[in-house]
């Protein structure tokens, strides 16, 4: 059976098509006001990539903060349930999945059978989120995929005086104007992001092994800093980290794997 998962995140919309065995097709685009049209075109793109016909997709499950906005979806799930599913699918030894996304840092702990145990989310403040990193990278004029290599050049990571993402942005602008190097600023931000995630990991009592997923998992420097800070074993999954939740939703849509409904419907703390 062919199923699809749609993950409407705070910054990107992700679509995955699966046959239950592997990822057949995927597509990802930035969130915009006409998300209905975006979802439609992404579904088409993923479907073409998977080489399946329009009517072959039997079920769609939506997830993410905007999951309820998808009209085509059979139902919506919290993303923690979806990430737990997908993480367990790829690596059965992972007990904790950290999703470093656009705005939310979600930590999901998974039991031995692959079911979601607990979730922890940064609820009040966007300090240390992906959006924060994005704002800073934009302010210093470094493209997203260059962040890691640029930060690696730094000898003196900058330490921020304000933790608020909005205030840090203007702090950086004035620092850059007085001659601060972009690499130092970026290294400082990466440290800030990683330490925020590390404090959440401590709060959640995360167990080894930890899988790093979400858009920020594409930045190797984050993984390295996080490993250093927590002293835990951190891996990435053999899939684009950004797609994990959408793939999990598609897997859950397969249906037959659902055993404990209760844990899959576990609600997200925020929203």
């Amino acid at each position: 059976m062919i199923t699809a998962g749609v993950d409407i995140g705070t910054r990107f919309i992700k679509v995955c098509v699966t046959d239950g065995e592997s990822l057949r097709g995927s597509a990802c685009e930035e969130m915009g006001p006409h998300f209905d049209a975006i979802v439609r075109s992404l579904l088409k793109e993923a479907r073409v990539q998977a080489q399946v016909g329009r009517w072959e997709i039997k079920k769609i499950i939506a997830t993410g903060f905007g999951g309820h906005l998808v009209k085509k979806a059979a139902f919506t799930l919290g993303e923690a349930a979806c990430t737990a599913k997908a993480t367990f699918f790829f690596d059965r030894d992972v007990r904790t999945a950290i999703d470093l996304g656009g705005l939310f840092i979600t930590i999901a702990t998974i039991d031995e059978n692959g079911f979601l145990e607990t979730t922890h989310i940064n609820e009040r403040c966007a300090a240390g989120s992906g959006k924060f990193l994005e704002m800073v990278a934009e302010a210093v004029g470094v493209p997203f995929d260059m962040i890691s290599s640029c930060a690696a050049k730094s000898c003196q990571p900058y330490s921020f005086s304000s933790s608020c993402a909005v205030l840090a942005e203007s702090e950086i602008i004035s620092q850059i104007n007085t001659g601060m190097k972009p690499s130092d600023v970026l290294a400082g931000v990466i440290r800030a992001v990683a330490s925020k995630a590390a404090s959440l990991i401590d709060g959640a009592g995360a167990k080894d092994r930890i899988a790093l997923i979400g858009g920020l998992s594409k930045i190797p420097a984050i993984k390295d800093t996080l490993t250093k800070l927590t002293g835990k074993q951190i891996t990435t999954l053999p899939i684009d980290g950004q797609l994990v939740a959408a793939f999990g939703a598609a897997l859950i849509a397969q249906g037959k794997i659902i055993q404990k409904k209760r844990s899959i419907f576990a609600k997200r703390g925020a929203a």
Binding site: F35, F65, G66, C125, A126, S129, S163, C164, T178
Partner: protein, 263 residues
């Protein structure tokens, strides 16, 4: 005797020039890349409109974020003192000043002589400041003036529950996607900023009369919602409320000159 006040804030720089009789010129500009550039440019602009030169200034007092770096200022005062004195000199009945600036929000209490009694300040988080208002206005594709004008047309603001500006942005987007009317969203944004300021105000004993200063005081939407949340009304000042800091600084410069006669 010609004195000047120069207030370099986080988003705008203000200059005010006056003599014994009162105002000569006042200017507001957006900040430039460095504090010195912003201060020099705004002061030059004010001097040009007053048809004066730098050498005509007898004394200059600086205030705001960048007050230590301004080369032509002979003294500096904190923006809290300057807002206190400025608002008091503009209207002697004022006892509480709510200053909503670009990146912070202060509530200042003054006595019957214009001295600062107490103040409370939020500079840790951008919620409840002009910056947050600006970000949220940009999210719905309006500029600040349009947002204020649109906000007062609505009586049913959307309820924004988040406290962080970036999470507020998300909530605004969510409302935009579910096709809520733009005026209700605009009003909700003003309401969200006002709620944060009102929350701050709860921590201090406020006395009448109250005035609002700073850039956000020019936004009718925020002012209306703030009056509603604080359950009080605000006295409007005879001076541009955004320039009050520089106005107060100029008074400090004047005081300094009259107290210490020159050689």
């Amino acid at each position: 005797m010609i004195v000047a006040g120069c207030d370099v804030g986080s988003l705008t720089a203000k200059a005010f020039i006056m003599n014994e009789k009162g105002k000569i010129a006042g200017e507001i500009i957006r900040v430039r890349s460095t504090t010195i550039d912003s201060a020099t440019e705004v002061m030059e602009k004010a001097l040009a409109s007053a048809k004066l030169r730098f050498s005509d200034l007898d004394y200059c007092c600086s205030t705001g974020y960048g007050r230590y770096e301004i080369p032509f200022a002979q003294m500096n005062m904190s923006e809290i003192s300057c807002h206190g004195l400025g608002a008091f000199r503009a209207d002697q009945s004022i006892r509480t000043i709510i200053d909503i600036g670009g990146q912070d929000c202060k509530i200042i209490l003054i006595d019957a002589e214009g001295n600062v009694l107490d103040f409370i300040m939020n500079d840790k988080c951008a919620a409840g400041t002009g910056r947050s208002l600006e970000i949220l206005a940009k999210t719905i594709g309006l500029d600040l003036e349009e947002l204020g004008d649109l906000a007062i047309k609505s009586k049913k603001p959307i309820n924004i529950t988040n406290k962080c500006s970036i999470f507020m942005e998300l909530e605004v987007l969510n409302n935009l996607y579910t096709r809520k009317k733009l005026k209700h969203i605009a009003c909700g944004i003003a309401d969200a900023v006002a709620k944060r300021v009102a929350y701050l105000a709860k921590a201090i004993d406020i006395e009448d009369n109250i005035c609002i200063t700073g850039g956000v005081s020019k936004n009718p939407g925020v002012v209306r919602q703030l009056a509603y949340h604080m359950n009080s009304s605000f006295t409007s000042l005879p001076v541009d409320p955004q320039i009050i800091g520089a106005f107060g600084a100029a008074f400090y410069a004047m005081q300094k000159l009259t107290m210490e006669p020159g050689p």
